[in-house]
Subunit: 398 residues, 4 copies
């Protein structure tokens, strides 16, 4: 691939957004690769990039084929827990994989960093920024196309991240994992967006933790906050691929189904087309997904916005728009489902009549709560688990 | 890999089953690869084995890693619609891919054939058997380890398939896509099983069309039928990865959600552990999955039966049994979910409060019904779709 | 009122049924009066007829006004537990109340008896028949118009009841509280119906324990049984006013919601119109209700069958058919609900998103099971309750 | 009964509340009598007090027996539509019935007025107040114990009502039919409460339109509003007996189930005990119900607060607290339900697996919207219904 900016180079992320183009993001790595057998839930770390590069490459390929314009590096958080030598090799390898696949289509490489556990425990600005800088050094060396600071619960830490990232001179996107109630300190979405833009982010929005419709509510508040402050920024949304109407401020991690019982919440391709359309109407132009977003969900974004963009993604050769491929099905009553009206209006069943439709989230309060809520490094002991369980029983009986 | 039966050769399928060993089957190819972008719904054909072999190989690898002892060839039905030259190349390539991956672990290669559209239209035994023979020729040439006749709605056609396959002298497994109500002509499961064994199948059971608990009900009836007839055979089950308590005789294809709205029905890993345990209790020793079975579902079978088998599959290095990996989660309330009791008793929510838990299946009757239900080769016209839709409206208002 | 058979007398129950007329039964006394404050759940005894006759009279009046052609006496079971003097006075008073209200409209008085606890413990035919005879003596003295043996779980005991009742020379109706699986000894519905007719019942059917659609399934089986045996009888159905798709052989008493959490299962008036129509189509001509059937449910039967019967019940002066009364509502969007199509197709919500749609019944097996399932006279001790509870926990975890 | 204030007189409403006593209100008349056959849905008028006084008296008796300390007159709105002679006779008769029953126990008589259609069309203060005055004249003549201005959607009209009522010199309670979003003009609950107290109400709160938990949210906002304004007043809540988590600003009338499909939303007695306890904790001391509140719901309030009040209501002679009466049930597994823990934790099923748990309200906006939403006097024409229906279809497809 030609060097960025050289002749034949791909257009950069800002160039695209400024011309009004829709940028399709990518989807879920951790949760998808957990189901494929390459990531361990709980740890949620990306060592697969060196252990099983074929599996990671394949997933990148599927997103590219589904229409993604961005290959996000599947990188380690360089937090103190993982500060041993290996994280740097993993991150470098992740950059190479992302670049390799991006080169096979119209996609850019984005280096991604996220929140640290150091922040929650110490709020030590210098130490937190140092961690971001270490990761940035790898991205600089690997010459990624732009940077994403994502999955931040606290506006303050997200600002620190942006402040570090912008030093490289590449475009910086910043997304928080918050819902309409705002960050963990109660900073509302509109104010978060303003802080991020003032810190230097050219693109702001949300990712993870909340489902499609909840995430768009948050985006609306961010947009209004920016308008009220007279600021301009590109908007970006990468919601969960799960419906979470019942979660509280902490998002889906507080739902009792997290992380091994989320199946009935998975969005259909039609849900995602609706999400893409609504995001577009709201003025969001960088539209992708996070946990739970499979390749066919990304394709659904690309198909929904194909009229605006003028083309379909490669994977649409294997997909008839709005089920139209079913008109060749051998059974005629299934052919009758080959139309938009059918899928748009169908209220699909869970097949689980003994289960509810909503859950009460574990209401453990915000992260920085009482001592029992502090994050821990050590494995929880049997005794601690029993105590937590007793508290939980008490809460749910209330 | 050494030739079958030679020194160092893997133990054959019957050798395993006769010694009481559990054989873990593999999972979903068509529906899984549709979501990854390589298969077209409606057509449901496997041309990806030549178009995108990396994607198919990767899925085989994931099932192997999850614990599968069988790599089923991802092969075309050599029915008249696809009788052009390409099907033979696709099938040969599918055998090579399956063999390549099987060689990387303790897995056998099974050549698979399924029901024909010829049978439904003509019931011409010679013509149907010819189609089976053509496919068998490829499997013979590629020296697969055993054969599977699967996805048969009619006991008669399944018998014909067994009769053809057994001529090769390799073990033959036969599974029908029926539920407790029996085949499309009303032949009950017990009688179907008897017919298949008498035709020469060494292994009988069901695959596809029905969810885990419904499939096990059918298996119970098959087992009872064989016992009543004084016959012996190994039992095999490869259910859907979807819960379908509400489907009728035709199975999940008659559910209004098929095929693009099945998400809320996807089984959890815990559901599959329960399925594996119940199948084992029932005496079934070949346990796998069909549409909707992702690699982590196969791993769940292997983990549930690890005590009996004495080992875990490779992918369990990335999975703590019963959620135990969560004891390292950074949030303590999620650590509290790191135990069997939690996941076994959780009634997971759909996150879809405006949707029902059960659907009324499209009651189009059995396949061989009135003219309008005949399977067709041509794409349905707009006019036909409108007529079907009107009939459907009338039915659902009843 | 003129003596039965005299000039101006009402037409008797058989006269009506034989002429093809629809007879509308009455509804729920125990559960309805429990909610009004006059009956104690658990005991379920009718002492209100002497303690609070106004309340009982009012409920009779409401059913009459809703269209009931039968006033069933609200009578005590003269079982040994209640054999003290008071039951006879209560039963006599109940007859007087029923007669008083029946006299205000076109209704007959039916004396009702039901199963005994003696049968379950001893199966002593003489003793059981003696209990029936004692009750019959009161009905004879009070000159009821016909007799109903209802709420029998065992065909044998129901036959004994019919044998006693028929001695009076008045028509005898017999209904069992069974579902499609048959009685507690496994006698199927068709066979139960045959036994009852052979014993001397002119009208047979089911009452209580199962919801509208389940009860009609049982009626279908009864009808088929009679046809197969070449017997003729009038058919009668008095289902619950609750939907119970999830209950087992024991019916709604085994549902965890019984008796204080059945609210979300209450049928709408539209559900009951459908029930009345289907019962009519099946050839059932005596159509009423049991527990949970409120006056408006009885009105729904009378309204649905008004075209066949030629008249509406008095209470329809306060009810527009299919919601037509809403066309005068002050809010126009509620006026839009004034039509049959609206109510027939509406899938009504529970307003309970944290609750399931189906329950697992307490699977305590049939009544005559192990020792722990024997019915008891004494109040359960704390210790016994704890033991039962532990067993229940164990069961539900399975 | 002795004249109010005379020797032996009952303690007045304010005397009770000021001493910290709990006052138990009464429940549903219109919806309950509709189901019993005496009120026409859509019209919702109380002519039964003269047509069928026994039925109305009986319901008053049931509430008294269940523990109500207030008999609200079942009175006509003297709006122009009903200004013909009959309303005055109906209202006078309603006062007599309420007084007759109140005399049989510890209950006061409250004369009730509600919002007018004149206000919505004309906002003519003089005309509206005149209507209130006409009704007050009857209450003055009949010497009711206190007055209730209830079911007001607009704070302004409620204030006018209070201003008229207070002229009589009797205590005035004022409740609005609003939810947490405030009145139809967007006046928030806290501000509504302040306006009502300033206008002269001694007791303020909400009634109707919203279910128990939603109504308590509104009460919390009212309480906070009064506190912020430094005002004091007694708090009163009379919620629906239906769960309505899914309704918008307009409350349950906008739910598609209103008024003939609300059955699955009916609260259990245990739901109401929770409501009573939470209301008490919030400082509300006048606790009753509105539409859907049956006598057993009122008894649930009286039973929940029996420890605080020191006595049970008469109807508790037929009800064991928390299901304890079941310890005498003939079936042992039902005896196991005779405890608080069982009923408090049970998630009851709807028995309706094809239905959702939540509904989308008809989003017709607020009452005073576009022309099509204007209230009408004439019956809607077929043409108008069709137009409304088309609009509705369009909306629900969105």
């Amino acid at each position: 691939m030609a060097p960025a900016g050289g002749p034949g180079a791909k257009r950069g992320i800002l160039e695209r957004l400024e011309s009004g183009e829709v940028v399709v993001g990518d989807g879920s790595f951790l949760i998808t690769l957990e189901k494929r057998g390459y990531v361990k839930a709980g740890l949620w770390t990306p060592e697969a990039v060196v252990e099983q590069p074929d599996a990671v490459r394949q997933l990148h390929m599927e997103f590219l084929r589904a229409g993604s314009n961005v290959m996000q590096t599947f990188t380690f958080s360089a937090s103190e827990d993982n500060m041993e030598s290996k994280w740097e090799d993993v991150n470098a390898a992740a950059c190479d994989l992302a670049r390799e696949v991006a080169g096979k289509g119209d996609a850019l490489v984005a280096g991604g960093i996220c929140q640290t556990t150091v922040y929650k425990h110490h709020k030590d600005e210098a130490r937190v920024k140092k961690l971001f800088q270490l990761q940035l050094d790898v991205f600089a060396r690997k010459n990624v196309d732009f940077l994403i600071a994502e999955y931040f619960e606290h506006a303050e830490e997200a600002m620190w991240a942006v402040e570090v990232l912008k030093e490289l001179g590449k475009p910086v996107a910043a997304t928080m994992c918050i819902g309409p109630d705002g960050d963990m300190h109660g900073v509302p979405p509109g104010e978060c967006a303003v802080k991020l833009v003032k810190a230097g982010a050219a693109i702001v929005g949300v990712n993870c933790r909340f489902g499609p419709s909840t995430s768009l509510k948050t985006m609306k508040l961010m947009k209004e906050g920016l308008q009220a402050a007279g600021l301009k920024a590109h908007l970006m949304v990468q919601s969960l691929g799960f419906h979470t109407p019942d979660c509280g401020r902490g998002g889906f991690v507080d739902l009792p189904e997290y992380p091994f019982g989320l199946e009935p919440r998975v969005a259909t391709r039609w849900d995602i087309q609706k999400y893409a359309r609504e995001a577009y109407r709201l003025g969001v132009r960088y539209i992708g997904g996070c946990c739970g977003f499979e390749p066919y969900h990304i394709r659904a974004i690309a198909e929904e916005l194909a009229p605006e963009r003028g083309f379909l993604p490669p994977a649409s050769e294997k997909h008839g728009s709005w089920g139209s491929g079913l008109d060749m099905h051998t059974k005629p009553w299934i052919r009758a489902r080959a139309r938009k009206e059918y899928w748009e209006n169908l209220r699909i069943a869970s097949g689980r009549p003994y289960n509810p439709s909503m859950s009460k989230p574990d209401a453990w309060g915000v992260t920085k709560g009482t001592a029992e809520l502090m994050q821990q490094k050590e494995a929880t002991t049997e005794q601690q688990l029993r105590e937590l369980f007793e508290k939980q029983k008490f809460k749910s009986a209330q």
